[in-house]
Structure formats: structure tokens, C-alpha cells
């Protein structure tokens, strides 16, 4: 079990939190890994009691472990995930304090802002919750062109792990500022000769952000215009994406992460969040 890749799902005992259980089980099965179910509590319970408390009727993973951890829930979950070198945390956006007005609940805020590994967030209100038989085939990866290579490479590694192909989507809109970082690449501002500039731009974009993707991961590149959140959701629907991956800076304060918040609030798909270095 030690050598098997680990998936972590935190559960707080609410039905809301179990919205992510199907996806967590499915991913654990796909990667032939171990599902680590984590419950933060100061009162130790027996396994049967734990299963009952966590509203887990039946688990259909081949390999799982139940954990009870103490202390602050967010810190404890993050520490746990780091210690076992988890490939991913899968969680519901909300728990027992579920308020649909809030984009994400308190624990989820802490996890997605500070996790060192990708976090898959499932909104409990989506129409089709992934269940244990979920087999995602296609992942949407919007990229704005900032040089966040490490995060993107992690997403590609994950894509290989969960056996999905990737659709990279570059969105342009009025109001977008040119990223200031050296190595950024956005839509070509000068298209002297589209018959050459477009293919060259596409090739360079893939070279910069997809150069180290595993060969098993098939990649398509798309370019759209419009408000990013709207475009991502529309595109995902039109192209039968199974999940959306977002590389982001990790700050959900007011005035920041408008697109991430918008997606989390409106999505009908699991969202995979990966923090990039700022």
C-alpha cells in the first residue's frame, strides 16, 4: 500500500461533503491507488462508527484507509496529504455549513489556497455527480499565457495518471493585460501573415507550455474570444469535457481570482485547481 499513489478526501460527516466521494473513488480506482478518507475530530471513533458518522454507505474502491486527525481541520488535512505524498485531494466545495451563497466553504477555502498538490473540487449542487464508475476522458485546461510552467506540468502529469486527454484553451478579451513575466506568450498581437503566424503561434504556445507533457496525453489547442469564465463553461459543454483544470495563484480574497470563483460557482463539472508560484 505504501507504494501505491494516494488520493485524499476529507469528510466532515455531512451529506454535502460526500458529494465528492464518487469522484474520489473513481480516481483512486483509475490510478490503482489508495483512497485515504480523512476526518478531523478530537473524539476518536471505531471504524464502524466512523463509517456511519461519515455517511459512507458502501465504498467501492479496491483499496482505502480511514484516518482520524486532530487539530485545526485545514492544517491537519494539508499536513496529512503532504506526509503521504498525496497525488490529489478530492473534496466537496462545501461541508456541514453549506450555504449555496458562498462560492466555497471554509475548509475548502483553506485547502485550495494552500495545498501543494492539485485539488479536485466537486460542487454538491451539480446535476450529474461523478460516481465510482466515472471515467473522465477529456480535461479542459485554460491557459492565459503566463509562464506558470511548473503548475502546468503537474497538471499534465496528472492527466497521464488519470488517463485523460487535454484541451488547452487560450482566451482573449478586451481588458486583458499583457502578463509582465519574461516568457509569457499570449495571442499574437501582430498577425502580419495569418497563414504563417497562426501555425507558428500554436507551435510556440505548445512548445512553451506543453513541451514536457507525457507522450500518452493527447493535446488539442483552441483559441477563443470572450469573458473567460463564460467561455470556459460554454467550451466545456460544447466539447464534452469531463473536468476543468485551472492553474491559479492561490488567493481567493476579495478582488482576486474572479474567474476561479465564477467557475466554482457555476460549474457543472469537477474543477481541478493547481496553485502556481507567483
Amino acid at each position: 500500500m505504501k507504494d501505491k499513489p494516494a488520493i485524499v478526501i476529507p469528510l466532515d460527516g455531512s451529506i454535502t461533503a460526500t458529494a465528492a466521494l464518487g469522484a474520489a473513488q473513481a480516481v483512486a480506482n483509475i490510478i490503482e491507488g489508495v483512497l485515504h478518507i480523512v476526518h478531523a475530530t478530537e473524539t476518536p471513533l471505531s471504524e464502524d462508527q466512523l463509517l456511519k458518522t461519515l455517511n459512507i454507505d458502501s465504498l467501492q474502491v479496491k483499496c482505502f484507509v480511514l484516518h482520524q486527525i486532530g487539530g485545526d481541520a485545514v492544517d491537519a488535512i494539508l499536513k496529512f496529504a503532504l506526509n503521504i505524498d498525496a497525488r490529489m485531494i478530492v473534496m466537496s466545495s462545501h461541508g456541514h455549513t453549506y450555504n449555496p451563497q458562498h462560492v466555497v466553504g471554509g475548509t475548502a477555502i483553506g485547502i485550495i489556497q494552500h495545498a501543494a498538490m492539485p485539488v479536485m473540487v466537486i460542487r454538491p449542487g451539480i446535476q450529474k455527480l461523478p460516481d465510482v464508475s466515472w471515467t473522465p476522458a477529456r480535461m479542459l485546461l485554460p491557459l492565459e499565457g503566463a509562464p506558470e510552467v511548473a503548475a502546468v506540468e503537474q497538471i499534465f502529469s496528472l492527466a497521464k495518471l488519470i488517463e485523460v486527454d487535454v484541451d488547452v484553451l487560450h482566451i482573449v478579451f478586451v481588458g486583458a493585460e499583457q502578463p509582465s513575466e519574461a516568457g509569457a506568450l499570449t495571442s499574437p498581437k501582430y498577425i502580419d501573415y495569418p497563414q504563417y503566424d497562426w501555425p507558428a503561434w500554436a507551435e510556440e504556445f505548445i512548445n512553451r507550455f506543453g513541451a514536457h507533457r507525457p507522450l500518452e496525453v493527447k493535446l488539442r489547442l483552441f483559441h477563443r474570444e470572450g469573458r473567460p469564465g463564460d467561455v470556459m463553461l460554454e467550451f466545456a459543454l460544447e466539447n464534452n469535457e469531463d473536468l476543468i483544470a485551472l492553474s491559479w495563484h492561490g488567493h481567493l480574497e476579495k478582488e482576486r481570482a474572479a474567474v476561479v470563483k465564477g467557475i466554482l460557482q457555476r460549474t457543472e463539472l469537477p474543477i481541478l485547481l493547481m496553485r502556481s508560484e507567483e
Binding site: G145, P147, V149, H170, V172, F173, V174, G175, A176, E177, Q178, P179, S180, E181, A182, G183, A184, L185, T186, S187, P188, K189, Y190, I191, D192, Y193, P194, Q195, Y196, D197, W198, P199, A200, W201, A202, E204, N207, R208, A211, L221, F222, H223, R224, E225
Partner: protein, 773 residues
Amino acid sequence: MKKIYSPTDNPAFLLIEEGYNPLREREIESLFTVGNGYLGTRSSLEEQGSASNPATLVAGVYGKTGADATEELAVVPDWLLTRIYVEGEELTLTRESLLEHRRILDLKRAVLIREWRHRNEKGRITTVKYLRFASLADRHLMVLKLVVIPENYRAQIRVETGIKPCQKCSHALAIIESGALEDTGIFVTARTRFSDIVIAEAQVSRFAGASTTPDYRINTEQSFPLEEWLWQADIGQSVTIDKFVSIYTSRDTDRPGPAARQHVKGLADQKLNDILSKHVDAWAHRWRTSSITIQGDPDAQKWINFATYHLIIAANPLDERSSISARALTGTVYKGHIFWDTEMFILPFFIYTHPECARAMLMYRYHTLPAARKKAAEMGYKGALYAWESAMNGDEMTPPVVLAPTGEIIPILSGQLEQHINAAVAYGAWSYWNATQDVDFLITAGVEMLAETARFWASRVEEGDGAYHIYDVEGPDEYHEGVDDNIYTNMMAAWNLKRAVEAIDYVEEFYPDVWSKLQNNIELAITETERWVKIADNIYKDVIHSGSLIEQFDGYFDLRDIDVADYEPRTAALDVILGREKTAASQVVKQADVVMLLYLMEDGFTEKMLRDNFEYYDRRTAHGSSLCPSIYGLVAARLGLMETSMRYFRQAGTIDLANNMGNASGGVHAAALGGLWQQVIMGFAGIRVKKDGIYLYPRMPDSWNHLTFSLRWRNQLLHFDVEREKYITVTVEGDREVGAGIYNRPLGLLAPGRIYRAGWDGVTWQGFNEQKA
């Protein structure tokens, strides 16, 4: 390395990249290209990393990847390849091993220096230095110098250096043969596919510095040949390997292989110092006539030095069968194709600093006249219509469509509709003739080019309403296709027709035998030229609205009006934001169209018309082309709109050099660089070239205190020294008087060896007066 190998002292001539960023590697490769007009070599890492896109491109060497594929400049085998092994472990650039890394392009001496300190897992630190150049004194010669110093260890070091075919490139050529030369050295011979141009590269390397004799061998076990040097290195011991590579093609000689071998053999006894010195001297000579100095704005100085460098390395005065493509010899994105960029944006630099190169570029157009005649005939017209995209022989290379990542299939109509290229070629030919009075060019090539392009226009126009119209055409503004009476096309066509008549009259008067022969060859009747005058005088240009505004094409003002500023900020081209249909239905303009006329035909407009039209179109121009900002900046400077002009100068100056846009990944934008030069000379210095001489009216940005530059004019060299709103000093180097003056003042005759000065009276420039020495 000795001082001769150190970069020049002046930082304005140094392009420096510290560290290593694989994301930007392909851009850096383009920006730091070394070349000499015969070839260009991207500044790829010698050992070729995973982000490398190495390419050496030889002008005119086109091949195809398939029978139906388009011609493209073939990437010849990489002559740089060099790998270093310490105790069998290759030194590669990784984050963990990198202590120091920098590349320095010395624009003044045209050498690329690379400095690298590597530390391996065992703590062994190796200093590696490279110096490379493509000799301007000997265009078939490339040199790579390597210095290896083990800083803190003793170990066996092996260097392998060879010539490697490009793995990542499209395969427009195939290797024929490779192996060892007779004594030492290696060779590779390749042939382009479908065009059968043979490329021969030969290499010898020399070793110096070890205390023991190195082992040397030639390794032909891999798919490409290598010279290998192996030695036991001592701590701090500096070893040098000098590599000389010669390249010849069947465009140069029937026997390129022997030529390359002979050439490289002859270098074996020459000192690298001497070879480098000759190269540096050749560059000093070029900089003498091409250099622009700007005091007060270090950024501007660097941008213009960068532009000048890349223009110089793009051209070969000895090759009449190729010209400068849109990305020159720095990248393969545009496949080495030649557009109107060449004549309108790049050629002026050469006409006025190195006319020999300009002549060669124009002779390329002369040699591709047969293809231009063919294109005109196929389209049902007379005379010659130059290809919109040209390669080896002048055949049309424009593809019919492109698939954009937007998912759209975009039809490319330029190949059919953008016919103003004819006027561009005519403009180039006439400007060269005017600036040089090169009679041989005019009678050999120029008059025929002008006549045949004029003939095309005469057959292209349609008469109606008492005027001659050009329907269903595309001007420089490619957002609007299939328009009627594009004013730029109409007026340039008229200009083309008139210049053709003038050229014919001149040749007929002074070289009647030549004219008679040509007239018979192209079967030109007198009635034709009479009709050309009538067309030129009556071409539809009744396009003035509201007293001063020029309508870009028929119906333009009926389109939805748009202010481009409403769509800022944005990171994409405006036609991508709006969509092609909406763009075409609006007044958004891609690039200088009417504004280009305000530059080229300035004297045909009143001051009010110039100003009103610049302001009108400026608000509606999206600058979707890299060709655009410099022209707007030029016109703005002439109008005294200095803030606007500097904004465009900065935009143009950083198209390739900005580190957050990736524009240069596929090659530098040669036309933008030529445009930048024009903005300085024709804009800020206010140079206007007329039949009788050169006029100027400098209007410099506030931060520029001093501007100096030189121009070649009718075999004389004029030196200009402008102190902002103080003095303009001009001297003539040569043996004849030159007509020069302040714009809108009478022309004077300036004699060589004397000093002339014009003063600023607080409001305007006064005329030139001779100064006592």
C-alpha cells in the same frame, strides 16, 4: 580569452541574456542570430537542448517537403554542434548544474559570446566559453571558438564537434554523404528536395593548450560526423578548440564539395585572430555608413543598433537570385518567402547605406519577371504581376487558406488581390535609380521592370464615369478584401505608370539602341505609353470627403465607425476580438494604408489633409501588423506630434525585443526593423528624397539631444549631425556636389570637403550656409 575576444565596450551595442529561460529560448535564438547575408545561424546552444530550434539558413536555398508543398528555405545541417564530456558525463544546461550562463551578442563586431559555468553532482566546476561568428569578410566561413577550463578538478575531458542534420525541421533536404576529409576534418553534403540544390559543408578544428597531446579521432559511427578531442585536463588549465566551417552550394559553384574542402583546408594555417580581425574590420566599414547615434535615449540607441545589425546581416550584395524575406535568415516561420515588406520597408535602408545590396535585391525581382509575367497572363492581364509571396523563381507561393486555432478556416486572398506589390517593386526600382543614377541597372533591368508593372496596371483598370477604376482589390489593409478603388493602390498604380513613362523617355533619349532592343523584346507600342499617362492622370482618386478626409476605398465611410481605443487593453489582434466579419464591416484598419500614402506622397496633400487624415485613421488603426507602428510614428514625427511618434517608436522598437510577448520565436520582424530605421531617418530626421536632392526637416523627441547618421546619395556620402533645435551640420564625402536643403526651402549645392550648417531660429530651420573650417 584575450581582449580581441571580449565584447565591445559600448553597452549600446550589446544584447545580453543572463541565465537561461527555456521558455524564451526560441526567441533568444532569433534575436542573437549571427549572419552575413549569405547565411544566418540562430544562436542555439551548441549542445542543442530540448528547447533548441537550431537553424542555419542559406539565402536562396529553397527546397520542398513534397511535390505539392510550398517552397521553403531549407535548414542546412547544423555546423555548431559541440558537446563536452567530463569523465564521460555530458555538460548540459540544467537548473541544478547552472552556476552562470550568459549570451552576449556584440552588434558592433557581430560576434556571439557565450559564457557558462557548470557544476556537476560531484562538485566539479567547469568554465566554458564560446565565441562564434559568420564572417562578413568571407561569407562562406563560419567560426566557433571553444575554451574549456576545469576550475577545481583534474579529469578526462572529451569534446565532440560536428555537423548535424536538423531533426526538428521539416525535411526540405536530404543528406547525400558525410564523412572524414582526407587529412583531418569532416564534411557533410546535402541536397534540397525538388530543387536539387547541393549544399556542402566542410569542417576542421584545431586544439591548443593542454600540457599533453590530446587524442584526436573522427567519429563517423553516428548518423553525422564528429571530430573528437580527448585529453587529461589539469586544474585551471585552459584548452581552446577552434572550429572552422566552410559552406558552399551549387548556387555558388558546380562543385560545392571541393570548394568547401579547399576553402577550409586553406584556413588551417591562418590565425583565428587574423580571421576575426578581417571580419571585425568588414563590420567597422559597414557601421561607418550605417550607424545612427542618438544622444539622450539609451533605449532608442539600442533599438536602432539592433535594427541596423539585423538589416546588415540579412543582405548579400553578391547574390542577385535571392532577396530578403520577412524574417530574413533568422527563422523559418515565413519559409523564407519574400513579400512587399522587402521593397517598401527593408530596401530603403540599403538604398541609402549600402546600395550594392539594394541593387542585388532589385535584380532578384528582375530575374523573377518571367514568373510575374506568367502570373499576370494566368489572371488575364498584360505585363507582369509580381507574386505576393515569392521564393526561388518568383512563382506565387501564397497558400489559399489557413486553419486558425480559433477553428476558423481563413481564406487567404492576398495572393490574388494584393496587387499593390507591383507598385512596391516599381517604387523600389525607381528609388534606387534616383538615389544612385545607376544607369546600368536602369537600362539592364529597371526600365523593363517599370514598363511591365505599368503594363499590368494599364490592363487592370476599367474605364467608367470618365475615370479609371481598379475594382475588387486589396490594399495594405488586409481587414478589407475585395474592395473597389483602394486609394493606396490607385495612387501607387498611377505613380507606377508615370515613373515607367519617365524611365522609358530617359532610356529612349540617352540609350536609344538599348531602348529599341527592349521595345522589340517586350513589344511595347508608343500608344501604350500614351495610354499610361492618360490612365495615371485620370485614375479614380475623387475620394476627398468633408473637405479633407480621404476615403480608403469606395464605401469605407459607410462602414460602422469604431474607435480602437475602446478595445484597449487587449492582448490579441483586434480582428480576433471582433471576428473577421465584424471587422470587415467596420472602419477598423489593420495597418497603414491611407497613412502610407501620407508618407510616400506627402507633397500631394495639404498640411491640413495630412493632419486630418492621420488623426482620423490613427483612431481607427488596430496595428495588427508589425509593419504598422513605425509608419504611423514616421508621419506623426513629420507632423510634429512627438508624443504620438515616440509611443509608436517604442512600440516598433520592442516588437522583437520585449521579453513578454514571444514575437520573435520564429525569426525577427525584418520589415519592422526597416520601418524603425525609416522612422528615424524619414521621420525624426525628416529626410525627404526628391529627384534633385535630399531635403530634411528634423523634429526630434524631447529626450534626443543629438542625432547623427550618414546617407549614400549618388556615389557621395553625406554625414548629418543634428543638434536638437540648434544646428544641422552636413558634410559631403566624395568628389561631386550634392543637392541638399531644408524641406520647403530652396535646395543648395553642397561641395565635398566643406562644412554646411543650418540653424534653428526658435521657430523653424533656416537654410544651409557654408562654415569656415
